[in-house]
């Protein structure tokens, strides 16, 4: 049975990782055998591709904003919840449930809620005398709208932080209170050092997840645009509005599996690999992150 797992690692991970590198030096469309073209895919990627730069920047936007905002918000809510003795389970479930909803369903729901003309959010804003913005239909607000969605779906992180916070030894809080530490100082000198391994892990895995940000952006584009599926006409549809939601992995998908430029998609995958591996190395260098003490 162990052998199955090792075969799996070889067939579905190690071989594809190496084969991908090979494909990245070829021109390959699945119909005819791959043709060696040296570094041409890479030179096209870095100097000519008209949309890859925008796509990479959009992805970096999510890395730079989605990750810290989600961590800050989920840590904040988790801290509020640690003080609750009664009904702790109720609150935890309430904040957790959005993370369960299938992302496609969440996106469809959010695009409807934030629908500029008739969506409930703008209806409420109008009742308050505020003219609601265009949200998912405005190139400058589409990404922030997805940020709101990301915060709404933060439940998994919150549960992790909640557990870490409950593990902080009580006597350290008591000792710092005796020393006259205020709320902020207790957070800075007791809470943070104790939960820093968990924070660190959340940040690294969050960055890697943001590097592959795909589903929410793809579905939001197509639903806000009112057309179906990202295959419906990738060039107009993808990244709507105005390429603001075009992420790196979406562009790779279109190149590889819609236009069948598999060699070029492989080159894009190599670049993604380098980025993710660099982030991962930071995590793995912290000895013992994964090495739970074996008694």
């Amino acid at each position: 049975m162990m052998a199955l797992g090792v075969i799996g690692l070889l067939v579905f991970f190690l071989y594809p990782l190496l084969a991908n590198l090979f494909y990245s030096f070829t021109n390959y469309d699945l119909a005819s055998p791959p043709k060696w073209i040296g570094l041409r895919n890479y030179s096209y990627l870095f100097t000519q591709d008209p949309r890859v730069g925008r796509a990479a920047l959009n992805t970096l936007w999510f890395v730079a904003l989605l990750v810290p905002v989600r961590i800050a918000c989920s840590l904040g809510v988790a801290m509020l919840l640690t003080r609750r003795k009664r009904a702790a389970g109720f609150w935890r479930t309430l904040f957790y449930v959005p993370a369960l909803v299938p992302p496609v369903a969440s996106v469809v729901g959010f695009v409807f809620l934030f629908n500029p003309g008739t969506g409930p959010v703008n209806t409420v804003l109008r009742a308050l005398g505020v003219k609601g913005p265009l949200w998912f239909n405005d190139p400058s607000l589409a990404k922030p709208s997805l940020l709101l969605l990301g915060v709404w779906m933060m439940g998994d992180l919150m549960v992790i932080f909640l557990a870490a916070l409950l593990d902080v030894p009580r006597d350290q809080y008591e000792a710092s209170a005796l020393d006259g530490a205020g709320g902020w100082q207790r957070f800075r000198y007791v809470t943070l050092p104790n939960i820093s391994p968990v924070l660190f892990f959340a940040a690294v895995t969050g960055v890697i997840a943001a590097l592959q940000y795909f589903t929410e952006a793809a579905v939001a584009s197509s639903v806000a645009n009112g057309k179906t599926g990202i295959d419906a006409g990738p060039d107009q549809l993808l990244g709507y509005p105005d390429d603001s939601l075009l992420t790196y992995t979406q562009w790779m998908y279109v190149q590889g599996f819609s236009s069948f430029q598999l060699g070029y998609a492989a080159a894009m995958a190599v670049v993604l690999f380098v980025a993710a591996a660099a982030v991962m190395a930071v995590l793995l260098r912290r000895a013992g992150v994964f090495r739970q003490k074996e008694k």
Partner: protein, 285 residues
Amino acid sequence: MTLIQPLTRPPAVKRGLTFVAEHALLLALGIIFLVPVVFVALTSFMGGGQTLTGALWPHPWEWSNYARAFGSAPLGRWFGNSLLYAGGSTLFMLLSSVPMAYVLAKVRIRFANLIFFAVIVAMLLPPQVTQVPVYVMWAQLRVVGTLWPLVLPHLFGNAFSVFLLRQFFLTVPDEYADAARMDGNGEWGILTRVMVPMARPGIAAAAVFMFFQCWNDYYGPLLYTSENPARWPVAYGLASFHGSHSTDWGVIMAVTVLATLPVVVVFFFAQRAFVEGITLTGVKG
């Protein structure tokens, strides 16, 4: 201690104010988190015309949206495909990942560290970095357009599940395995008679995670079954559904609710296992 305690505590008034402020904040946040669900659910009972007026409350209640949802999309087929995808993957994952995790946690074998390192790297790297060759393999086997490329790989282990299960097996004291070994059990006997029963919460968590991940997956079905509507799971179908019903938000929201319901039901039955699983991945992770 009794002398110092009262002095270091904040005065009762201040504590009372903090209590009120924290509860008010929590309540406000709770409402914000709940509102999207409530609005989506309410909209699923509105007629097509009413959803375009900005109304917040259904009038009249359009119960027929749910019946029409089944009429306007092959929902039964979508749910069947999702069940095949998620259920099949979960079953395969358990068959392969439980033994692998056990070996990595409890049995001394050669290259154990190397294999575990590979599991971690496979778990952390984005799936896109291996996507092209994997797709080419499935294309050459002529199974693109079926659910096989989505389900079959789990028969060969799933990195995240192996990781999660290994963390669970590590918490089971070695003495139990040793005792079973004394009684003449081989590794297989130890695994099935001792380890699996003791790690039941962990196995439940891994199973529920796998099921949800597949049920919610959009990227995989987009890649492999988008050309064949007969094999669309509900998450992919939902994303394509709005196109043909672009203004009938009532029906779209009804489908959205239906796609979400099974996940919520499973969650309420497996809540404890689930929370325990997340906690373990994060804390000792």
